[in-house]
């Protein structure tokens, strides 16, 4: 094993990311649910001028609903398949 491989393996064993980094699905889910609700409300209350500008498509409503769906997808995915925190690595037994 080369010098470099030994050094990186040692750092990997001490690394805290796998055990302590939060799950990004929670953030994507949360942000898109919030955005989805805001934009959907903007769609429900859309003015005539808004609709005319957007080629008679209620784009806020559709975009808002789609964002809401994406946000919920991430939250459901997180609930159904939570990340498995790795066993705290002990010397000599680190995960690859």
């Amino acid at each position: 094993m080369s010098e470099l491989q030994r050094e990186v393996s040692e750092l990997e064993a001490k690394s805290a990311t796998a055990a302590r980094l939060f799950d990004i699905r929670r953030i994507i889910g949360g942000l898109f649910v919030v955005y989805g609700v805001i934009v959907t409300i903007a769609g429900i209350t859309a003015s005539e001028a808004d609709l005319k500008k957007a080629q008679d498509i209620n784009i806020n409503l559709w975009t808002g609903l789609a964002m809401l769906a994406l946000g919920l997808f991430f939250l459901v995915w997180l609930r159904l398949r939570p990340a498995v925190a790795p066993v705290p690595s002990e010397p000599g037994e680190q995960s690859p």
Partner: protein, 556 residues
């Protein structure tokens, strides 16, 4: 891109600004929340090599999906028509698949922390130092380009003075990377990816409706620009005139092979995302997962560009005060009501920041691990390098603010970036490909290949093309040719130098050259990595087949 036209000011209101403010808060929040996961320098620079493939894959595509890319590719669409698909289907997918299937075992398995570090292992210190310094220089330059472009767009769209957006965006990037390291950069890229989709998809749909659907779009464009404007290969026969200034051979070899492979397989800002994956299988899948969104993103960038070409027939010419780069901002102003408009502004700003952050987070790694720790202050404890990494991140952001104005002298941002890449990345690719596949390639051949390739590409572009020695119709076409010239020169010089200098001892090449393995490559696949939809070969070849199929409707 000098200035966006006046009169592109967006009718933003409190709702849009609320959406923007929420995003900025989340960006900072991610940085602070990621802080507790940073214990070692490996956590800070490579997320401890522990992220899942879908996260690194989306970050891989998002790191490339900066706002300069989005605005620049829409501009290319407005200017050259459907030919812009070349930058995606032939100019990205094959290289991404090659990176995942062929090169990743050597990159990831050898446990190198950066692209230059691979050169140190495979060749020698001179190749390593040269590529590290070039990369550090280029990434600050490109981060500066991003920042400058951001300030112009924000000034035109929102009316903020340029220095305000430079300071605000610079501060946020500095904060979240300094605090949370690469994990924070990657998480923000994944988030930005989805926000950009939420901005561009509605814009594309409304744009199409505005011009009477796809048929209305193609009808008006054929009438005005001729049928070739709507085909990928029309008019690209050798010797035929076409606006791109390139023929099929320079497209395939220059863009599809040399430029694209140089960018996707050796640009550390991209490769770093794959190196942070949790195991070899996830690292291989990183560029492969990225390839699928990349195939389809062209539609939501090209169509707004084409729509703008219909709405403003004179766009980009002396008869209009709108430039090609104004295509997407123009449609945002014309079509998006408040609400979605806020999402679009947020997506654009997020893309600018992510583009800059990708460069800063790769710059700090190379500067710390490859330059500082190997040549300046060697052998200190890990906490020292972690601290230094945070310091150099801040210095890098400040330096890129200083270089922001270098971008001002080129009219098309994409052309500018590609010019840079053809000089720095082309010789990198030839050195990698020969180094990985030819065991005999000597230690000294690396640095000479890099020097020869870079100088040949520069001489071809600045002396032969710009000096008018040969006649190439456009900057883009000249880029493609310069790339091919740099590649060939680098390859020839490497072979010549190898013939007269000593090879690397066989034992030191384990895991770095095709046909050898290193301890890191023998790890057993994780449970679940064997299911069919995670098989790299299937993902890779699937992407190639889909990209090829996408060409069919635009080729005849």
């Amino acid at each position: 891109m000098h200035h966006l036209a006046d009169g592109l000011r967006l009718p933003t209101n409190g709702l849009d600004y609320a959406i923007l403010a929420i995003y900025f808060a989340v960006v900072l929040g991610i940085g602070f929340a990621a802080r507790r996961s940073v214990r070692t320098s490996l956590d800070f620079f490579l997320s401890g090599r522990s992220l899942p493939a879908w996260v690194t894959g989306l970050a891989f595509v998002a790191a490339n999906l900066g706002a300069t890319e989005i605005l620049g590719m829409a501009a290319t669409g407005a200017q050259y028509g459907v030919a812009v698909v070349h930058w995606y289907w032939i100019g990205a997918i094959p290289a991404m698949v090659f990176l995942g299937l062929v090169m990743m075992p050597f990159y990831y398995g050898s446990k190198v922390r950066s692209v230059p570090e691979f050169l140190l292992q495979r060749f020698d210190k001179s190749a390593h130092l040269l590529s590290s310094v070039l990369f550090a220089f280029a990434s600050i330059l490109i981060a500066g380009v991003n920042l400058y472009a951001l300030s112009i767009v924000v000034e035109a769209l929102l009316g903020w003075p340029q220095w305000v957006s430079i300071v605000v965006a610079g501060f946020f990037v500095l904060a979240y990377i300094t605090i949370g390291g690469l994990s924070s950069a990657i998480y923000n890229e994944v988030l930005q990816f989805f926000v950009i989709l939420a901005a561009l998809i509605p814009l594309t749909i409304l744009g199409l409706k505005r011009v009477g659907g796809w048929d209305g779009l193609t009808g008006s464009l054929t009438e005005r620009h001729g049928g070739n404007f709507l085909t990928a290969w029309g008019g690209t026969g050798i010797g035929d005139p076409n606006p791109l200034g390139a023929n099929w051979l320079t497209i395939v070899l220059g863009l599809g092979f040399v430029l694209s492979f140089g960018y996707w397989t050796t640009n550390f800002a991209e490769v770093q995302r794959a190196l942070s994956a949790k195991n070899l299988s996830a690292a291989k899948r990183t560029p492969l997962i990225a390839a699928f969104p990349k195939i389809f993103i062209v539609f939501i960038v090209m169509i707004p560009g084409l729509v703008a070409a219909v709405l403003v027939p004179k766009i980009g010419t002396a008869g209009s005060d709108l430039t090609y780069n104004d295509a997407i901002p123009l449609l945002m102003q014309e079509l998006l009501p408040n609400g979605v408009l806020g999402i679009a502004v947020t997506g654009l700003l997020a893309a600018f920041m992510a583009g800059m952050a990708a460069n800063v987070s790769s710059f700090n790694t190379v500067f710390t691990a490859d330059i500082w720790a190997k040549y300046v202050v060697k052998g200190r404890e890990d906490t020292y390098y972690l601290k230094f990494g945070r310091l150099i991140t801040a210095i890098g952001v400040v330096a890129s603010i200083g270089t922001a104005f270098l971008a001002a002298s080129f009219s098309n941002i994409m052309g500018y970036l590609q010019t840079l890449f053809s000089f720095f990345n082309v010789p990198m690719f030839v050195v990698f490909i020969i180094g990985m596949f030819w065991k005999r390639a000597s230690m000294k051949s690396g640095v000479w290949g890099l020097l020869a390739g870079t100088s040949a590409a520069m001489v071809n572009y600045f002396v032969i093309y710009q000096g008018g020695v040969i006649d190439i119709p456009s900057d883009q076409g000249a880029n493609f040719v310069s790339a091919i010239v740099g590649f060939v020169a680098g390859a020839v010089v490497m072979v010549l130098v190898t013939l007269f200098t000593a090879p690397k001892p066989e034992a030191e090449l384990a895991g770095l050259v095709y046909g050898t393995t290193s301890p890191g490559m023998e790890e057993a696949p994780q449970e679940g990595d064997q299911v069919w939809y995670r098989r790299p070969a299937l993902l890779g070849w699937g992407a190639i087949v889909i990209a090829a199929a996408c060409y069919v409707p635009y080729s005849f």
